[in-house]
Amino acid sequence: MFLIRAYRTTLPRFGASVPVDTAKMAVSRRVSATFKDLPGGQILGPTFDYTHRLLDFALMAEGEAAGSPPPTPTPIPSPQGGGGAATPQIPHVMSFLNRDGLIETDAAGDATPPDLTREPMELPASRPLRLQSLTRGDEGFILSLAYSTQRGYGRTHAFVGELRIGTVAVEMDIPELGFAVEIGEVELTECETVNQFTGSKTEPPQFTRGYGLVFGQTERKAIAMSLVDRALRWRELGEDFVGAPAQDEEFVLMHADNVQATGFLEHIKLPHYVDFQSELELIRRLRAEAMAQKEAAE
């Protein structure tokens, strides 16, 4: 990951893709915890969520080599039958709640979001900047923060409105052509949470959203990200800051990046002879002074 990031800095950036459309995602898994059934269906897909994880002693008795291959998940046929060619559009669960005006809406804007890879982090950060930071953030860190909100440190009452995994087309506007062409595809995991919200001084009672979008098949990180995103939104929703770590934007964003954290943590293995020598001298001097004072007192 570090190598890829470092290599990327050698490449000129010649453009940005069009925002990917996750409603057109070719999904391999898509579940909702808020509705038992819904258009597009519950597509369980590749997961260990519903299988037993019991040790099978029969295998050991038969002397089978450890580490037998995991069961290959059976491919899930596309709910619309087709699969492949024309990707069926699977509507987002949030749009069903939206129909009733039960969930907050975020008007689409033309503003170019800030780019964390090109500009330094600016605090207080806008939501796009926060989301970028969380997407790049360390999974373990985001997970623990999200878990802390579930246990009362800045609780946001999250339901998984929808979790989907699949590939989306990445398109780019080519100025010479005047339209967008597909330049590749990427696997993403997207999570949208519906959060209980009883209103505040500035906002009416309605469901609010947390959002997570991460690369690859990484459900845990996508869910965790959406919980932390929601916790960080206390200011714009007029909620109280209860002092929870997950609400503290500066704390979260400045410590989420694994590459930065690993590098700085491990650098203490490097030589620090000079600094330590000066510390050593200081401690010796202070001790000598303290001893002298003690003797004088006696």
Binding site: D37, L54, A58, F96, D100
Partner: protein
């Protein structure tokens, strides 16, 4: 896979004994959260490890087990836990509430009245009703000791002052025999009245948080409220579209992306029973009725 490789109901006898002691203590002090040395189970924390351990400690070979999640026998987690005990304890299983001796549940109390001799085991994510007012366990235990529940009443009062209602729809706090404030697990508040004066034993297991608590039969359980804002059990203002029941808790199912939706009983066994008895809802279900009649 041979079930004999594992002890009956998965856990070893020493562990079951430890859990049974915690259960007995819980029964002796209704509503009090008893710490217990929760074990790792072959399923993730948060998926019912507490309930599974309590069920494992209560099961005998003669028991008949029913497992529900969201009221339904056919939801993934219910199916998974039922299969787990079929494999590790080889006990009889059922979907009929009346036939079960032990019912493990997540988020619902069955519609059909429970009877003496039955055990209802709840899966509990956060056993501490005060957790969302005070995140620190050291503080909340002190509050329970001192019966210091003012904070909870202030929270409910603030809800009323701001919204005109108590804005808690599930996991609605209750007071047990006038002493401990208890979290009934995330059941909809529609189910709260069924907690009180119940002939069955109700056991609550929270694996990740390492707590067990209990309501012995016929325990008085009161949902917290105010004289001028009495507790109100609520549900969707509809009848079941399959069986026509007007007194059961309903799930909302989205049927298309044009705003179409239907309401069905969340308790699948209750709904199936009514359909078999000839009750038909708005959307009927002739094939289901026929199937049940056969």
């Amino acid at each position: 896979m041979t079930a004999q490789d594992y002890n009956f109901a998965y856990l070893d006898e020493q562990t079951k004994r430890m859990i049974r002691r915690a259960i007995l203590k819980g029964v002796a002090v209704p509503g009090y959260q008893v710490p217990f040395a929760s074990r790792e189970m072959p399923m993730p924390y948060g998926w019912g490890t507490g309930g599974v351990q309590v069920t494992a400690a209560c099961l005998t070979p003669d028991d008949t087990l029913k497992v529900i999640d969201q009221g339904a026998d056919d939801t993934t987690n219910a199916v998974s836990i039922r299969k787990f005990f079929q494999r590790t304890a080889a006990v009889a299983v059922t979907e009929a509430t009346a036939e079960a001796t032990i019912i493990q549940t997540r988020h619902r109390i069955p519609e059909a009245a429970l009877t003496e001799g039955q055990i209802l085991v709840y899966q509990v994510p956060i056993p501490e009703p005060l957790r969302f007012l005070e995140p620190r366990e050291t503080e909340t235990r002190k509050m329970h000791e001192l019966e210091e529940y003012g904070l909870m009443h202030v929270k409910l009062y603030e809800d009323i002052a701001r919204h005109g209602h108590i804005a808690t729809a599930y996991a609605y706090p209750v007071k047990v025999e006038g002493r401990y404030v208890m979290d009934p697990s995330p059941i909809p508040r529609f189910d709260n009245p069924k907690l009180s004066d119940c002939p069955a034993i109700q056991l609550f297991g929270a694996g990740r948080e390492q707590r067990i608590y209990a309501l012995p039969p016929y325990t008085r359980v009161v949902s917290l409220d105010f004289e001028d804002h009495p507790f109100e059990a609520s549900k969707a203002p509809h009848d079941c579209d399959l069986c026509g029941a007007s007194d059961s808790y309903l799930d909302e199912v989205i049927t298309d992306d044009e705003g179409g939706r239907m309401f069905v009983c969340s308790d699948t066994d209750f709904c199936r029973g009514r359909v078999a008895a000839g009750h038909i809802g708005r959307l009927g279900a002739p094939d289901l009725a026929q199937e049940a009649a056969e």
